[in-house]
Point group: C2
Chain length 336, copies 2
DNA sequence: TTGTACGCGTTATCAA
DNA sequence: TTGATAACGCGTACAA
């Protein structure tokens, strides 16, 4: 292995000079810089990350805690993990993958051992058990999702309230008056609040039902909705698995989309093309989530390295309404 | 930060003794072990991973190179990445995520800097450009996928030839005589060879067509197949995106599955439940892929650490045929 | 503009 | 069974 000392000897300078040439933290004469660079090239020197991490008290590694078990396959998670990794690389950081089956102790492990400089937590829940560990260790962190108590942390999430508002506005604009909101039974329907507020203001009547993302579950929910509110003409769905069944059920009940019933999905943009007809979707930028979290964390790290107090940031990313072919005016006959 | 020296002082022993108590590489008297362990507990000592990595010349980190861009969403990749991470943890290793957009230089970076002890490469192609880098640096590696030249490497992949054989056998058993094999245009149809051999032996006639995984692409392929071989009664599909369109086209042409046409998918097991009717699928164990790769790599690492020559292993994982409702006897009328 | 020398926290060799 | 002590390779305060 070629070391800094080897390079120094080869270039006829001291090892600290080589170090400074590489880090750029000192002004170096043109002559020595050239000699050092040549020595680096000739010897094929690569700085040793382990020694660097020890001496600099920084590993340039951030830990990403993902909510994954091997049998789950949520593409969004992977998208975010990838965007975190790519963003981190652009700032010279690498990403260590921690699966959440290690629990809060996984966070403690990477933070207290100094393996990672900071942590990004995905799928943060309101009373997340990993957060006390971060506080206890004083670990710098950025969260994807909203914590109960944001003190000492930065976080980023989709602005689901705005997403709900977009749904209500779009349907109201199209003349709908009776809407059903279908959510996931075990996830908070973050978009519901925003939807409710805007729906009220726009004079929309609506019911909210949580439903499993299975055909049977959606069938039951669908039947109840139609029994309670037979005049329902539009559906907002914040439950990826429920969309396919809902579309099938609408067809099965003789309703054409969007002529007889409109459907909006709240979720990843890719949903649009996975169904027929192409869906109207309200989606947030998943990749931005990763990038913003990385930038938040790195700002905290540089602040802490300077002895400053890191700034707590809470960012909400604005969602976008993409109009597809699953929404149309109430009572639309297909001929505009 | 609590260091080894702090613990040593607190316990009234030398720091090397503490180190040996923790590593278990020396026999320690019951008395001192107790004192040291108590000191560790009282001070809340956590070994420093950076210093350990430098002194031990091992980081206990393996790099996983994933073929991911932020907009791609292949659940299989994530499944493998997760299983690699979990398997690695069981052996005391952590996983560094490297995206393939760094190219071969990403491999060079983590290996030559000593950041990682070894590398796992996903989606290895026959003439993969990352492999020369591994050879040049003498980096220990395990590959998921089959390299052209396996010398100095370990690798694991699905036994696609066996998968093809299972398809041919299943269809032949059901009495089919004319089969179409639909593959992906830009991926090697690894299952084709095995399918061909077994098809010949079983007296199956078949055509092979590559097709895009789009509705339009599959429609063209489908039409050509029926034009060339109107008596085709079964389809083997090794192209995830082509399955949905194919099923739709079969229905559209008045064919009922499986009464008039049988369909087998070669791919991830989860495909079975994503279609109607539930698919007959030949799939390999994706999670095993990750686990085996980790174990191969760690065997190489321990061998190399002992100064021994690591053993090159090539493992093929046996696929399984799961019979669903998309295959049936040729000319089946639905009433058995 | 450059060099010296110490420290980072462990591991591992050599003695005792 | 235990203790000194020299690496490990780099960063940086201090000195020149």
């Amino acid at each position: 292995m070629v070391t800094l000392a080897d390079v120094a000897k080869h270039a006829g300078v001291s090892s600290s000079t080589v170090s400074y040439v590489l880090s750029g933290k000192r002004t170096i004469s043109e002559e020595t810089r050239r000699r050092v660079e040549q020595a680096v090239a000739e010897l094929g020197y690569h700085p040793n990350a382990r020694a660097r991490a020890l001496a600099a008290r920084r590993s340039y590694i951030i830990a990403l805690v993902v909510p994954l078990r091997p049998e789950s396959h949520d593409p969004t998670t992977m998208e975010i993990a990838t965007s975190v990794t790519i963003a981190a690389r652009q700032y010279g950081y690498d990403v260590l993958l921690i699966t959440n089956d290690e629990g809060p102790e996984g966070v403690r492990r990477v933070a207290s051992s100094g393996l990672a400089d900071g942590v990004i937590l995905m799928d943060v829940e309101p009373d997340d058990q990993r957060i006390p560990v971060l506080r206890e260790l004083g670990t710098q962190a950025a969260l994807i999702g909203l914590p109960d108590e944001p003190g000492g942390l930065s976080s980023v999430d989709h602005d689901f309230a705005a997403a709900g508002g977009l749904c209500a506005d779009h349907l109201a604009d199209l003349g709908h008056r009776e809407v059903a909101f279908i959510s996931h039974p075990r996830h908070t329907a973050h978009a519901l609040g925003g939807f409710r507020d805007r729906a009220r203001r726009r004079g929309l009547r609506f019911v909210h039902r949580a439903s499993e993302g299975t055909y049977g579950g959606v069938a039951g929910t669908f039947a109840r909705i139609l029994a309670d509110r037979p005049d329902t003409t539009a559906f907002v769905v914040q439950n990826e698995g429920a969309i396919g069944p809902l579309l099938t059920l609408l067809r099965g009940s003789g309703r054409t989309v969007p002529e007889d019933a409109s459907v909006i999905a709240v979720g990843p943009g890719r949903l649009a093309d996975q169904h027929t007809p192409r869906l109207t979707v309200v989606s947030g930028p998943d990749q931005e989530l990763g990038r913003v979290a990385v930038e938040q964390l790195l700002r905290r790290l540089t602040a802490a390295a300077r002895g400053e107090q890191p700034v707590d940031e809470q960012v909400l990313l604005t969602p976008v309404l993409t109009v597809g072919e699953s929404t149309g005016p109430k009572g639309w006959d297909g001929k505009s």
